[in-house]
């Protein structure tokens, strides 16, 4: 009969099971510790710990998890290979978290320092100038009032269009950051155009079908330019 190995050592006999029966008071002790730690987390959350609250809560939860895994799940007395499976999994969870947060935490840096480079790579060297909103312009009264009712509708349509451009801009990653403010400005620009002359209407209409970041981008200066 094959020899049995338990935790790296040869077992006295394979029919002698390696079942480790823990004494009752160990279980009761662990149970008590878990209850005490639960009360502790709730009490700690009442105290205002500021930024230390999350780490403290996580440490307490990890201690509780350690009790459950080590004693209730018998990992402390189990085959080492089960520990390997478990902690190996945790290692990969750690890698998953680490790389994701490395990405998230360095994204701002990339857009600030290399944002323009990315734009040039995608769109050529002609970086469009920052659109400057013209305030107080395009209020000429007179026939503008007559057009107001007619203009109100397309101008309203331009707004959701600009909103639609936002998620689309997310897809066009490098351009996204450039496009967002522009798309946002498209809406007020269209509003300004409201009392303005007929020319504003085609501009607002152009903003409406905007499905990508780029057309929305282009619509912005046009909507503004309409006097």
């Amino acid at each position: 009969m094959a020899k049995g190995y338990i935790r790296g050592r040869e077992a006295a006999g394979v029919h002698e099971t390696h079942h480790h029966v823990m004494p009752l008071r160990t279980y009761i002790g662990v149970f008590g510790a878990l209850l005490v730690l639960t009360v502790l987390t709730v009490l700690v959350s009442e105290a205002d710990l500021g930024s230390a609250a999350l780490p403290v809560a996580m440490v307490v939860a990890t201690i509780k998890a350690g009790f459950v895994i080590g004693f209730f799940m018998h990992l402390k007395y189990d085959t080492r290979f089960h520990s390997f499976v478990f902690f190996g999994t945790l290692l990969f969870v750690g890698i998953f978290f680490l790389i994701t947060f490395l990405d998230i935490n360095t994204r701002g840096m990339i857009t600030k320092e290399w944002g323009n480079t990315a734009w040039v790579l995608d769109h050529g060297v002609n970086v469009p100038p920052e659109p400057v909103p013209h305030e107080g312009e395009a209020h000429e009264g007179g026939d503008a009032a007559a057009h107001e009712a007619a203009e109100a509708k397309p101008a309203d349509e331009a707004k959701p269009a600009a909103d639609e451009a936002k998620p689309a801009a997310d897809e066009a990653k490098p351009a996204a950051d450039e496009a967002k403010p522009a798309a946002d400005e498209a809406a007020p620009a269209a509003d300004e155009a409201k009392p303005a002359a007929d020319e504003a209407a085609p501009a607002a209409d152009e903003a409406a079908p905007a499905e990508e970041a780029k057309p929305a981008d282009e619509a912005a200066p046009e909507g503004e330019g309409a006097p």
Partner: protein, 234 residues
């Protein structure tokens, strides 16, 4: 010839009698090998469970890092006392589960069965509390995505990014998946309870009890992290 038959019969008898008790599947050499394989399989399954939940935990931490104020504000809508009560329920059920496994280990199926029954009662208690929590959330319109406040405030503003519906999306996804595990756990516990009642387990063979126990402890383990993160975050 007769000796050969004798030898054959002897081998047969020895095979079925000693090495192959009724609970031992024919493709295993001995009960220890069978138990080792079953438990390793269970641990691998638990590993995949951890990986699945880790994605949700990552989503939670990402939301927290992006919208700390929103999470701060809206976690107040969760009842930390109900969450705490549920934590106590799950820890207690985890304890009684461990006691059920221990009773099975030392060959006391009657005690094991009653411990399993107590475990089931606490698990159902958890789901009852969950029901009250969920119905309160639904009543107040604290729901994920477009469902948020739909019947309370007449729907959300479109393009409202990083709003509370995100928090409740994560809340319902995490506690919902966990709750699904609790429901499945209740089914498994009941199955094990019936088998124990029928006398399927002994001090030599109780692997299913142990593996369901491992599953149940994992459910408890995940809640141990969910509770402070969702209910107590500051």
């Amino acid at each position: 010839m007769s000796t050969a038959v004798d030898a054959g019969q002897h081998a047969e008898a020895g095979h079925s009698h000693e090495a192959h008790p009724s609970y031992l599947q024919h493709h295993f050499d001995n009960p220890q090998q069978q138990e080792g394989a079953a438990k390793l399989g269970m641990w691998l399954f638990l590993a995949t469970e951890l990986l699945m939940f880790s994605g949700l935990f990552l989503a939670y931490f990402y939301m927290r890092s992006q919208y700390p104020d929103m999470v701060q504000e809206y976690h107040e809508h969760l009842n930390k006392w109900l969450g705490g009560l549920n934590t106590v329920f799950l820890i207690t059920s985890s304890f009684t589960m461990a006691m059920a496994v221990r009773a099975a280990q030392i060959g006391k199926p009657r005690q094991s069965a009653s411990m399993l029954l107590i475990t089931i009662v606490f698990a159902i208690g958890f789901m009852v509390v969950k029901y009250f929590e969920y119905s309160a959330k639904i009543e107040h319109g604290l729901l994920p995505g477009d469902l948020f406040a739909e019947h309370v405030a007449g729907g959300v503003q479109s393009g409202w990014y990083g709003g509370p519906q995100l928090f409740f999306g994560i809340y319902f996804l995490m506690t919902g998946l966990h709750g699904l595990h609790v429901v499945i756990g209740i089914g498994l516990l009941f199955w094990i309870y019936l088998k124990t009642k029928r006398g399927a387990f002994s001090g030599n063979y109780y692997t299913p009890v142990e593996n369901v126990g491992l599953y149940w402890h994992l459910v408890d383990l995940i809640w141990i992290f969910l509770f402070p993160l969702l209910y107590l975050v500051k």
